[in-house]
Point group: C2
């Protein structure tokens, strides 16, 4: 079974799927399917995309045309780093988050704040994306009654959008706490996992507590569509985790299943929260869907690279990563692609990868295959879809909007080129 078939099949299942709300939907992407010869790869990020119908100059090129300033980037690189651009606001969000999750019961308070303390807040990737998305969608609003009112309205909207970033972090950390219990993990973000330090019970309870606080914070926004989006993201996290637990051979070896699981586990939270940002801003369904598509494809690209790095680590050589997935019997994109080239790998995978000798054989096949390369290419493909979504947003001449859209594009590149 070709992975491209799987992908097409997956896409067509998505199309059927789109009858249900908040699911994967690429239908608004300006280019539905890219031919294999023209997919960009991370090694050559400026390579031009051509659609099967031949009429499309790829998103990255469009992006380069639109953002001419890119040529002078080096001088301003530091000031335009997506994370630096919103550093102050990220600190504000972190402070407010810490005050939002104070529990009455002392033990619960310690558990809940564990991953929100200074220094262990993680990369803050999601809040960074969401703050830039908020600015990127800051399209003109009807002339307000007074400047004061205008200023108040903008500020209020921004605060509400910051709340989405906080809620997203709460949901994300809640899922980490529960996942670490499920996986019996002992480290997270460079420190002992909460289950290791305070036990499984407090980890489960702290996760539940964060979910309830997220729900209360959501309710305070007074927008039931946004509540539904974010609750759906929680459900998807659970779906993804459950799908990953499967032992059924046909599912473990299916690219379609893998991509669906990856959407649920990684992409749904960021895509739904991007959409929530748009909805709070009162954006149209089309713009909200573009925000969703950006988040979805960024999330998929992120996880694909994550899965590659599990094999390669910071170097590009196979076997230098932690090999955590394969040692846990989790089959990811690189192995699925390798299996396409070497169907005999399927038998090894079907045995469950519990035997270290089987893992070695699988790594050998992976090494002589195009698995890693193809997984990177697929990540690049999704990164392009993400860029396309940004490019398809209504034009704006606002400098801040411009900077934020560029930051969102830069983030897709950071996702592709990251080494950890």
């Amino acid at each position: 079974m070709s992975w491209r078939w799987a992908l097409r099949s997956w896409r067509s299942s998505r199309a059927r799927f789109n009858g249900r709300s908040h699911e994967m939907n690429f239908s608004t992407a300006p280019c539905g399917a890219l031919s294999s010869r023209t997919s960009i790869s991370p090694e050559n990020p400026t390579k031009v995309l051509v659609c099967r119908d031949g009429g499309y100059l790829g998103a990255r090129r469009l992006h380069n045309i639109r953002y001419q300033h890119d040529h002078d980037r080096s001088s301003e690189e530091e000031s335009l780093d997506p994370f630096s651009l919103v550093a102050d606001e990220l600190s504000l969000i972190a402070d407010r988050l810490r005050s939002t999750i104070i529990a009455e019961v002392p033990k619960l308070a310690s558990a809940a704040e564990y991953f929100f303390k200074m220094g262990v807040e993680g990369k803050r990737f999601r809040p960074t994306v969401l703050l830039h998305m908020a600015s990127a969608l800051n399209m003109p609003i009807p002339r307000p009654v007074s400047n004061d009112l205008f200023s108040n309205l903008s500020e209020e909207l921004r605060t509400r959008q910051q709340r989405i970033a906080e809620i997203t972090e709460m949901i994300h950390v809640a899922s980490l706490l529960h996942d670490d219990v499920l996986d019996d993990a002992d480290t997270r973000r460079g420190i002992g996992s909460l289950n290791l330090v305070m036990g499984n019970k407090l980890s489960v309870l702290a996760g539940d507590f964060l979910l309830s606080r997220a729900c209360i914070a959501l309710a305070s926004l007074g927008n039931t569509e946004v509540v539904t989006l974010m609750a759906t993201a929680v459900e998807h996290l659970v779906n993804g985790e459950t799908m990953q637990m499967t032992t059924a051979a046909d599912k473990r070896c299916s690219m379609e299943y893998y991509l669906q699981k990856t959407f649920y586990k990684t992409a749904s939270l960021i895509s739904n929260s991007c959409k929530a940002i748009a909805i709070l801003a009162g954006q149209t369904a089309e713009v909200s869907m573009l925000a969703y598509n950006y988040g979805q494809n960024l999330g998929l690209a992120y996880q694909l690279i994550d899965d590659v790095l599990d094999f390669t680590g910071t170097s590009s050589s196979l076997g230098k990563g932690s090999l955590s997935d394969i040692h846990h019997g989790i089959v990811t994109a690189p192995i699925l692609f390798a299996m396409e080239e070497y169907p005999q790998l399927r038998k090894v995978v079907d045995r469950g990868l519990k035997d270290p000798a089987d893992v070695d054989v699988a790594l050998e096949y992976l090494g002589k295959s195009q698995g890693i390369k193809r997984a990177r290419e697929l990540a690049a493909e999704h990164a392009n879809y993400a860029i396309e979504a940004i490019d398809a947003l209504p034009k704006s001449h606002d400098a801040n909007v411009y900077i934020s859209r560029r930051a969102l594009v830069d983030l897709t590149h950071k996702v592709l080129t990251r080494t950890k």
Copy 2:
């Protein structure tokens, strides 16, 4: 330290507490504190209550005055059983619940529906309370434009109130699933616990899934106050479970701490959902608070009796219950009351009740104390508060309202006299 002091202290802490929303609040109860000589006991449920100010004929008597028909009850007992009265609606809710929690991922679907299958749905106590509360608050609404519109509006309201009953069950079952993982329980509702049958991972995930579906269902009601109430109940469940895990001697031996924990673990969900029913009906703050007070006191009475039954089981003799709490080192009201009479019991409890010999000593003290009796009295006191809340509702001459209010009062008696 007297338990009455603890109770007063607890009440005064509640009063301070009431600055925060949705916490325990007895302040609307017509009689703030009942003197010990006049508290009713379950053995003599018609005994009259007298307030410390001497001016109050207890709620049960008021209730008897208002519900004169009680004298002819035997003939209609069957038809007026609170559970039978709403049997059809309970089935409807159970069916809808089953369709609400269908998960896309098959394994998750099996786990999530585990306690919603026919025969293992439990007593359905909460939905029964909530359906009667909905009818009890069915006060006249302004004359509608047409009979059709009136009928549609009522039906729509009823459906929304049924949703609260469904959401309450989802939250309740989610908390059971997580609690059973935390307690490593092996049975629940007469069958194997989900963690035993499908493992801890799926139990945690199914709990999270139910919480996310509850949140989505809440959002669909479009009332953010209701979302906040129900999310607060989830948080309280977590608070209660965490408080129960404490090993601090001063907390384990404090009546105040015990009652606070009991409110969080048992009473908050039913009190907040009763209030949600009132809010959906567009009731005033006063009526909503009465609904809340009913649920709160019913919940406290329920748990106090539960704690008594853990010692007595179906008989009234000590030691015939499962003794599950004391064997897990959990200190409940009967032991706390016994400790008041026999302060030397404190030392035994402080050692953690891990040694079976200590458990035997504790049971010996409990046997010669008034602990069980006093716990039952406290339950009766709270049952009376619950009845008072119903009695304080605005008068109505609607027969269905009358029947439902009587059912709510009957439920308080069932709580006191239940043997399992």
